[in-house]
């Protein structure tokens, strides 16, 4: 619960944690012993969880459960919904609903990419020494001329882009 609240201060998007959901439908605090008992879970691949969602029924809900033992045609629509909500927490539609979490994730990804970029720029400016002299323009042009003289990659590569008659790059 607390972790979810803290995150919601940084970004107003939902971050899912399973811990806060557990304590929800029931009295409040989840005791250590409960972790060894069968638990209720809202999962797409578990259509009928091991226990009902509401563990301790109020008097009204107990009366409704008694009524459920009789003919179901006597139940009103609201009573049927109430019975559903006793048994299940979220419907499949509610369970599968989308959230805005992707915006937080994407934002965080870009933010940290930016931080990395800042670090790299700082390194290039303040930390690294000069690049080798073989990257200078004079050296690169001499290097390319030598590659063309040697007819490097003449079929599809660099020598195929050079017009040897006119002594210039092909258009």
């Amino acid at each position: 619960m607390l972790a979810s609240r803290a995150f919601s201060l940084i970004g107003k998007r939902a971050i899912s944690t399973s811990i806060c959901v557990r304590a929800h439908g029931h009295a409040g605090v989840v005791k250590a012993e409960d972790f060894s008992l069968p638990a209720y879970v809202d999962r797409r691949d578990v259509p009928l969880p091991e226990v009902a969602f509401v563990r301790d029924l109020s008097a009204q809900q107990k009366a409704l459960k008694e009524k459920e033992k009789a003919s179901w045609t006597a139940l009103s629509v609201d009573e049927k919904v109430e019975l559903y909500r006793i048994k299940f927490n979220e419907s499949y539609a509610e369970m599968n609903r989308g959230s805005n979490e992707w915006k937080t994730v994407l934002g965080a990804v870009f933010f940290f990419l930016g931080v990395t970029g800042v670090i790299l720029i700082w390194q290039k400016h303040y930390m690294y020494g000069p690049i080798p002299h073989t990257f200078s323009d004079e050296w690169l042009s001499a290097q390319t001329k030598r590659m063309l003289d040697m007819r490097i990659n003449p079929v599809e590569g660099i020598s195929s882009q050079w017009d040897f008659e006119k002594n210039e790059w092909k258009k």
């Binding site: 030598r146 003289d149 040697m150 007819r151």
Partner: protein, 77 residues
């Protein structure tokens, strides 16, 4: 809760439908990739090599390289 009933969803042959969709999809995607590669990469490359070697004179090429001075054991004339 609306009083009108929702239409009954598809209950059977779900996997069969999914499999059929994906089998067709996989077939066409892979054939498409193969065709794209053939027409985009393989055939142009074969044509480029054929064009290059159609009127290739290795001795003329050698003399040009020798004149440029790239050979240690065959200096320019």
């Amino acid at each position: 809760m609306s009083s009108a009933l929702l239409p009954k969803p598809q209950m059977r042959r779900l996997l069969a439908r999914r499999m059929k969709f994906h089998l067709f999809g996989a077939f066409f995607v892979s054939v498409g990739c193969a065709a794209l590669y053939k027409f985009g990469v393989a055939d142009p490359r074969k044509r480029a090599y054929a064009e290059f070697y159609k009127n290739y004179d290795p001795m003329k090429d050698f003399e040009a390289m020798r004149a440029a001075g790239v050979f240690e054991s065959a200096p320019p004339k």
